[in-house]
Subunit: 234 residues, 2 copies
Amino acid sequence: MQLFYNSQLNKGSTIFTLDREESKHVFKVLRKKIGDDISITDGRGNLYNGNINHITSNRCDLDINFVKATPPLSYQLHIAIAPTKMNDRMEWFLEKATEMGISRITPILCDHSERNKINLERFNRIIVSAMKQSLQFHKPLLDELTNFDDFLKMKITAKKYIAHCEELDKIHLKNSIKAEESTVILIGPEGDFSIQEIEKALLQEFKPVSLGKTRLRTETAGIYTAALLNMINS
Amino acid sequence: MQLFYNSQLNKGSTIFTLDREESKHVFKVLRKKIGDDISITDGRGNLYNGNINHITSNRCDLDINFVKATPPLSYQLHIAIAPTKMNDRMEWFLEKATEMGISRITPILCDHSERNKINLERFNRIIVSAMKQSLQFHKPLLDELTNFDDFLKMKITAKKYIAHCEELDKIHLKNSIKAEESTVILIGPEGDFSIQEIEKALLQEFKPVSLGKTRLRTETAGIYTAALLNMINS
């Protein structure tokens, strides 16, 4: 099964035209013909069937039928992470975390951050691609780059954790998180969170956690966290 | 701490000359001077201190002292995985699995494999780089590309698992693996293992396991498995 994505679809949709790039893909790569079906999601849990009624190399018109709705998780798996200096490392994290079923990602700007600009549009494209690839119908929410202090001020009802490398009392994340519980985890930049940031997070009742014995890169810590959240909820 | 690697060192070493590239790095990037120390591992668990007694832009001579030996794990964490069509995806797996403390990786050639050649030297360089980055002293063992059938013929005393996507009775990997137990897990190519391969593995007492609800890419399945092996042993 190959899954397409378009956020403009809704349960009332009856006809739809794929964009130029997707039309080309359907025509040239998938070699679909009039009468063939394709599957589309709106990224909000809904799956649609599109029956091709017109196709050329740059235009594909579809008759749309709503197929089914997948309810969202009753809990939110949320990672707030400092974008890495090398952009591709952050992009790998986005792809892998999406495949593993994360529900929300907040890029955060920290005292030791080595990147203070992100390309939100590109990040979203990577997330959409990974969502389609892994056959999921809910697009993870991607926030704008958020200042660490502003993030702490947000109203968060989830269980809160901070993964830092300082030699403080910490228990392993696997012994902290619970299944079907909304969870948010802070992952710092390569140079770790500053002591001040850690103190501020602890004051806001973020629980310090460890991610094992080896020193993980930022994006590895993020992927490891996404794997553990997936594992605990599988 | 920055860690260097050289497999030629041994406990009897008293002097050592870094290679040209490493010498350049120590001189130009780290800006080390005569009398400064650097840390080196031989990838077999041993850590050495190197005290610089001569340094130019392309040569760095060291007085070597053995510092400590880290014993190997009493168990082996082994992933046998089909290299991905896109080489960078396999390379990301190698890096992340090394960071997460895997002990052995066997690239396997399967019925549905889309890659039948690998660059072992390049793969080893990536593993060494990840080992140094994550401050580990044991270099994971990397096998040559091995035919699936030949792999099954190998004498394996570890607990054996196969992660496949067929709709057969499977339990989640997290409910199968145990701490401090030698484990080998087979991960198939993008097109999954063939039915014949799955049957052969089951005959050899590989236990079928699932890696959760979402469809993971090959390298993601590998990283997820490495994360779970790390988690269970943390």
